[in-house]
């Protein structure tokens, strides 16, 4: 995507299929250039689902769709259908899923288009907005849906205009809708951000406009309150692709001066698969799947100082899975459960409790619809339940369910404790309906906490949080901020008002937290009479503790 052919549209004739494809690539390129800023627009100062990454990976999947006609051929209808199919399968994160639905709408709007003129763009945007609203169960205003609808409404009355005119109007209307999102969603206002997905839509439209006019379109991106330090790349990210789920998933950040991102991308690409290399001349984030992570790290060290190293052995996870399940995949079962797990320890817990397939992913690593679909297929059951265990994976799970040939029910677990509770409630002897009921009911019975480190300073739920402080969330709301993880944990449990007989399970994160967790367990039993504590090695990144309270 880095190299957009500098095609200048010298006349205002309609776009050919090929040009339409290039316009789409240009939109993708703009999202890629602004991916860090879009990521930074998260509401909670926690390592959250990276909207920018998710959108970019979804757009890339569209550009690389296997269903596209060969380059240099194809009508606009064929190209947009091919793009849409790629996005549908490659969608990850809620923003990616919604964007893939926009593209489905666009393909419908362009279903009979040989070429694409201004009127076609109007039709495409109108269908895109409608498809987006349809795809989401309860549409929320102040999100990328609103921004896309803004774009559609901004061009609805235009007739006889060129693609450039229509895209100019669309970008301007979308930007206006974006700026207004904090007025519609109070949580955005409190965090001082605009909607990240909406920002992605605006970036994409800007790229498309830049292509048809041949003029660079400047894009201003609002930064959240408290600012995002340019060089402080706060969270790692992860993505898996089906073709190479083996080897080591290796992620790190290089901090240096005068870094050449394109050169680094090329070098990393030559050494590993599934590479994502982004950043600027001072900070470069690297994600890759390699047989050996050593050479990648050596490359990083040769470029600057390396930070935020996260290496996961995907072979091991695969072997553990195969060992546990004894290659019994040929035998079709009636019911199975597919879960998403962010860490090795949690993966073992899920296997112990009978999950048929575990897909790696979580907070900052949202699996794509295609990965979830593939897990559903491997589960080989007549009816499969999917536990996404993250709000930002729920839509991708629904998308996978739509694409699957077998029956699939998504149990919308929003975090790990809910996912474990739902899995415990699963009974393969019961029918699908009964299981859906009891799994859903198990989710409502449990309270969930998270302890992590604030990645920026902000004020949230009336609480001031400083970057680097330990913060604790209870059922998705900020409950405590403190100097240490254990202090934040205890303060959060105070808010939870533990009852006699409660069980607190601490899933400790990847890192050297064994002693810390033992101390926390001691502190909890000393503080709350009649409360039991269990510590499990969860192995999840970013979160010192995931906590279930029941």
């Amino acid at each position: 995507m880095a190299d957009i052919p500098p095609i200048q549209l010298t006349d205002q004739s309609p776009l050919t299929g090929d040009q339409y494809r290039q316009m789409f690539a240009a939109g993708t390129h703009y999202v890629e250039q602004h991916v860090e800023e879009i990521n930074a627009l998260n509401v909670f100062p926690v390592p959250d689902g990276d909207t920018g990454i998710n959108m970019l990976l979804t757009l890339r999947a569209a550009n690389e769709s296997k269903e596209l006609p060969p380059v240099g051929s194809g009508t606009v209808a064929e190209v947009s259908t091919g793009l849409s199919r790629g996005a549908l399968l490659g969608a990850r994160g809620n923003s990616g899923v919604i964007f893939s639905q926009f593209m489905k709408g666009i393909a419908e709007g362009l279903a009979s288009a040989e070429t694409c003129d201004g009127a076609d763009i109007v039709a495409a945007l109108t269908c895109a907005a409608a498809a987006g609203y349809q795809a989401v169960g309860t549409p929320v205003e102040g999100t990328m849906l609103t921004v896309m609808r803004g774009a559609a409404e901004g061009v609805a009355s235009m007739t006889g205009c060129t693609t450039a005119d229509v895209l100019t109007a669309a970008l301007s209307a979308a930007s206006a809708a974006l700026v207004y999102t904090p007025e519609q969603l109070p949580i955005l206002k409190e965090a001082g951000v605009v909607d990240a997905g909406g920002q992605g839509v605006v970036a994409f439209l800007a790229g498309a406009l830049a292509f048809v006019t041949g003029v660079d379109v400047p894009l201003e991106i609002m930064t959240p309150l408290g600012g995002v330090a340019g060089g402080n790349v706060s969270h790692a990210f992860l993505e898996h692709t089906e073709e190479d789920m083996y080897g080591f998933c290796t992620q790190f950040v290089v901090i240096g001066e005068g870094l050449d991102v394109d050169a680094v991308r090329e070098q990393v690409g030559a050494m590993a698969g599934s590479t994502v290399v982004i950043g600027d001349d001072r900070t470069v984030r690297v994600h890759a799947h390699a047989e050996n992570p050593g050479p990648l790290l050596s490359l990083g060290v040769s470029l600057g100082s390396v930070d935020q190293i996260n290496i996961q052995n995907m072979d091991l996870q695969h072997q553990q899975f195969m060992a546990l399940h004894g290659y019994t995949q040929d035998e079709q079962t009636a019911l199975a459960v597919v879960v998403v797990s962010p860490g090795d320890g949690l993966t073992r817990v899920f296997h112990d409790q009978g999950a048929a397939q575990v897909v790696g992913g979580g907070q900052t690593m949202n699996p794509s619809a295609a990965e979830l679909l593939s897990a559903i297929q491997r589960a080989n059951a007549t009816h499969t339940f999917v536990l996404p265990n993250n709000p930002n994976i729920v839509l991708a799970a629904h998308q996978a369910a739509e694409l699957a040939d077998s029956d699939v029910t998504v149990i919308a677990s929003r975090n790990i404790p809910q996912g474990i509770a739902a899995l415990l409630a699963f009974n393969p002897d019961l029918n699908a309906e009964g299981n859906a009921d009891s799994m859903r009911s198990a989710i409502t019975d449990i309270r969930s906490g998270e302890v992590t480190t604030a990645v920026r300073s902000t004020t949230l739920d009336g609480m001031a949080v400083a970057e680097g402080q330990a913060i604790a969330l209870l059922d998705g709301s900020l409950a405590a901020a403190a100097a240490t993880a254990n202090e934040a944990l205890i303060a959060m449990l105070d808010v939870a008002e533990l009852e006699d007989g409660s069980l607190v399970t601490l899933y400790r994160g990847a890192g050297d937290f064994e002693e810390l967790a033992a101390e926390a367990a001691g502190a909890i039993t000393a503080r709350y009479a009649g409360v039991e504590v269990e510590v499990i090695d969860g192995g999840q990144p970013h979160y010192t503790y995931l906590v279930s309270i029941e």
Partner: protein, 277 residues
């Protein structure tokens, strides 16, 4: 001449009910090492659990009644001119039915029908009670047999052992075997289905497990009769019993776990039995 009901000691039927309905209970045996004790005859449930939890004993075993035990009971009853409906523990869990079958073959002239309830513990107990009540009400032999079979199919049993250790050691874990082990401590709620122990659902704490039993009981009332399975005296058992009171017109049958069932459930188990009309 009357229709008499015979069962085995896994029924955990309270003694007063068995006596009042004239039910003959053939005891299984519990072994501590080489020493055998007839369930409820040579060892009381209190003595048994005291020894089980003393920490000094190897894990006890159980053994089905001998063919002679059944022959003796059947001979005595038929000698008095009675007909016998012999109602028993699931033959997937115990060899008791085999002994009874062989005893029946020894007495070709006696009128004896055996019923495999596919159940155990007080679930079997409630089927026995219903069958004996039918006999006491003067129903015909065939009607009594039909009552036993019908009640077997309409009685459900859910229980929560304090630990899975005993079911596992005793080999009675059935289809629930897969839930043993793992990193999380869990409280499984087990059900007796098709004569075997199955995992019904799993929760994390004892109080949630009891709440789940209440929920299961309330899902599908009212019932012809309900029972509570428990060991020792506990607040949660008392509270569960109070809840069950509302689910049937008949008083709740409170069945303490006896020695043979106790070998497999271990101490501290709690459960419910639900019999639909």
């Amino acid at each position: 001449m009357a229709v008499k009901i015979v069962t085995d000691s896994t029924s955990d039927l309270p003694e007063d009910i068995a006596e009042k309905l004239g039910v003959t209970v053939v005891p299984l045996s519990v072994f501590f090492g080489e020493q055998a004790y007839k369930d409820g005859v040579e060892i009381t449930r209190e003595q048994f659990f005291a020894r089980l939890t003393s920490g000094k004993e190897v894990h006890p075993r159980t053994s089905q009644p001998s063919v002679e035990d059944f022959v003796a009971v059947y001979k005595e009853l038929t000698g008095q001119g009675h007909e016998i409906v012999s109602v028993h523990v699931s033959d997937k869990m115990s060899g008791t039915m085999n002994s009874a079958r062989l005893a029946q073959a020894e007495l070709p002239d006696a009128k004896i029908t055996l019923v495999d309830t596919g159940l155990a513990a007080l679930a079997l107990g409630l089927v026995v009670k219903f069958t004996a009540e039918a006999a006491a009400a003067g129903k015909s032999f065939d009607e009594v047999v039909a009552a036993a079979k019908e009640a077997s199919g309409k009685t459900r049993c859910y229980f929560v052992p304090a630990t899975l250790e005993f079911l596992q050691k005793g080999g009675r874990i059935g289809k629930a075997g897969a839930i043993v082990g793992g990193l999380l401590s869990i409280k499984p709620i087990l059900a007796v289905i098709d004569g075997e122990v199955h995992s019904f659902t799993k929760v994390r704490t004892a109080s949630k497990a009891v709440a789940k039993l209440r929920e299961i009981a309330s899902e599908d009332g009212p019932y012809a009769e309900v029972g509570i399975i428990h060991e020792g005296q506990s607040e949660s058992a008392a509270a569960l019993l109070a809840h069950l009171e509302s689910l049937s017109d008949k008083p709740v049958v409170s069945g303490q776990i006896g020695a043979v069932v106790g070998v497999h459930t271990g101490p501290g188990a709690i459960g419910i039995v639900l019999r639909k009309a």
